[in-house]
């Protein structure tokens, strides 16, 4: 049906998934750091995290990606020249993952900060009163509750992120979009291949949505449900 390009498309889909998961890891680290900075008492840290989230929400992801890819290439080679390295080609995979992670780290900062603030103060205080150390308070009491409050936001960020990975094809990574483009060029059937790509993206987002729904149910065990 796909003129033998099905395997290539699936390979691209795997790359798309791997970009998405790696970016999620980067975004998680940045998001946690950002949330800690925003919740900390230090003014400079608060300011820094505020600047980070504001900047990211003001600039399109494509512009950010082009800046990191082309600008990062130049920066690395300027540093390399001084240190006497040979010419380094910036890997589009690394540039893509870092950019997407950097962008969605800002959104996760807000999600995690909101989730932390949604846990009632009394919970922390009670845990401290029991003599738990700060790490135990986080792991045993605040963390699990935070996760429940963070899930809707997390699911949202993940869905947007998986779709955002489509733009890595613009900087030359051979993800699903560029595989579809190649197959379209070779067979002159662009509609077929872009529809196939769309169906795979839709499958990814649908499965993710389902998974997050189940998780949400799991984490809401013991929460009182009321209906109108």
């Amino acid at each position: 049906m796909l003129h033998g390009y099905g395997a290539s498309l699936l390979e691209g889909a795997l790359l798309t998934l791997s970009v998405a998961f790696m970016s999620l890891a980067v975004a998680m680290v940045l998001g946690l750091a950002g949330a800690v900075a925003k919740l900390s008492r230090s003014r400079p840290l608060q300011w820094l995290a505020g600047a980070y989230t504001t900047l990211i929400r003001a600039v399109p992801d494509l512009v950010m990606m082009l800046l990191v890819f082309y600008g990062g290439q130049m920066l690395i080679n300027q540093i390399g020249e001084k240190l006497g390295w040979e010419f380094i080609d910036v890997n589009p995979y690394v540039a893509g993952v870092l950019t997407i992670g950097f962008i969605f780290g800002a959104y996760l900062t807000e999600v995690l900060r909101g989730a932390f603030m949604a846990v009632p103060r009394g919970q922390r205080e009670a845990a401290l009163a029991y003599g738990m150390n700060p790490r135990q308070v986080m792991v045993r009491v605040v963390g699990p509750q935070m996760l429940r409050h963070a899930l809707p936001g997390l699911s949202n960020v993940w869905l947007v992120m998986i779709k955002s990975t489509a733009i890595v094809s613009v900087i030359g990574l051979s993800d699903m979009m560029s595989r579809a483009g190649q197959a379209a060029g070779a067979t002159r059937e662009p509609f077929l291949f872009y529809v196939a790509a769309a169906v795979i993206y839709l499958a990814f987002t649908s499965v993710s949505e389902l998974g997050f729904k189940l998780l949400q149910k799991r984490f809401a065990i013991g929460v009182k449900q009321v209906s109108l």
Partner: protein
């Protein structure tokens, strides 16, 4: 920073900003105009009406806008019928395809936003309207829509800002919008920092204006609905 090159390219950026703003206004305008009836139909208690609309928004929200744009711009050319049709001059223009793809995409999100806002109208208000003998249309016009529009403002403001960022994709189909201008400048001078940072500053300025506009709108229309702080 090479400021001479930036100043030399400013006309390019200004015309790019104009293209970006046109894309944004057209697609958001068309998207909102289509979303309004769709959201109303989606909120009616008839499944055969609301289900196809849900399916449309689900598919549009579940796939990347880049795929939707490519489907329109590259995909449709696959069919002889399309190429022979009188619409071909439009369908082969990147400008038309970009506006259509963006409008359909934002229409799906806006439909869901408006639908959510309409569902959030308190049941008592609707019951009161029914008790007063209002027909469905009068009730929508007088009670549901005014308060739904107010409630939808924050989410719609977000959507417009995201659409501004989405219009950057137009540069991928050869349009010279703000991002296209930056790519052009980068290939003219090979100055990636200057090129993309300048574009980022322009985008940030437009975002700031949009956010300020929506803040003002919220202060004017949403405040009365919120609890007093």
């Amino acid at each position: 920073m090479n400021f001479d090159a930036i100043i030399d390219s400013l006309p390019l950026y200004v015309s790019g900003t104009w293209v970006t703003l046109q894309l944004l206004l057209l697609s958001c305008g068309i998207g909102l105009a289509m979303a309004l009836p769709l959201a109303m139909l989606r909120s009616l208690p008839m499944v055969w009406l609301s289900w196809p609309i849900w399916l449309f928004t689900y598919v549009m929200r579940g796939t990347p806008m880049l795929v939707q744009l490519f489907l329109l711009y590259y995909g449709l050319a696959q069919f002889e019928v399309v190429r022979a049709s009188p619409f071909w001059p439009w369908l082969s223009s990147p400008w038309f395809c970009a506006v259509t793809a963006f409008a359909l995409n934002t229409c799906a999100y806006t439909t869901e936003i408006l639908h959510g806002a309409m569902k959030a109208v308190p049941a008592g208000e609707i019951e009161a309207a029914k008790a007063l003998g209002m027909s469905r249309w009068v009730m929508l016009r007088r009670i549901v829509l005014p308060s739904a529009f107010r409630r939808a403002l924050p989410a719609y403001g977000n959507e417009v800002v995201l659409m501004l960022h989405g219009t950057a994709l137009a540069s991928v189909v050869t349009l010279l919008d703000l991002t296209g201008a930056a790519r052009q400048m980068n290939s003219n001078y090979y100055l990636p920092y200057e090129a993309f940072v300048t574009a980022a500053v322009f985008y940030a300025a437009i975002t700031a204006v949009l956010v300020a506009l929506f803040r003002a709108a919220e202060a004017r229309w949403l405040k009365p609905l919120l609890p007093r702080s």
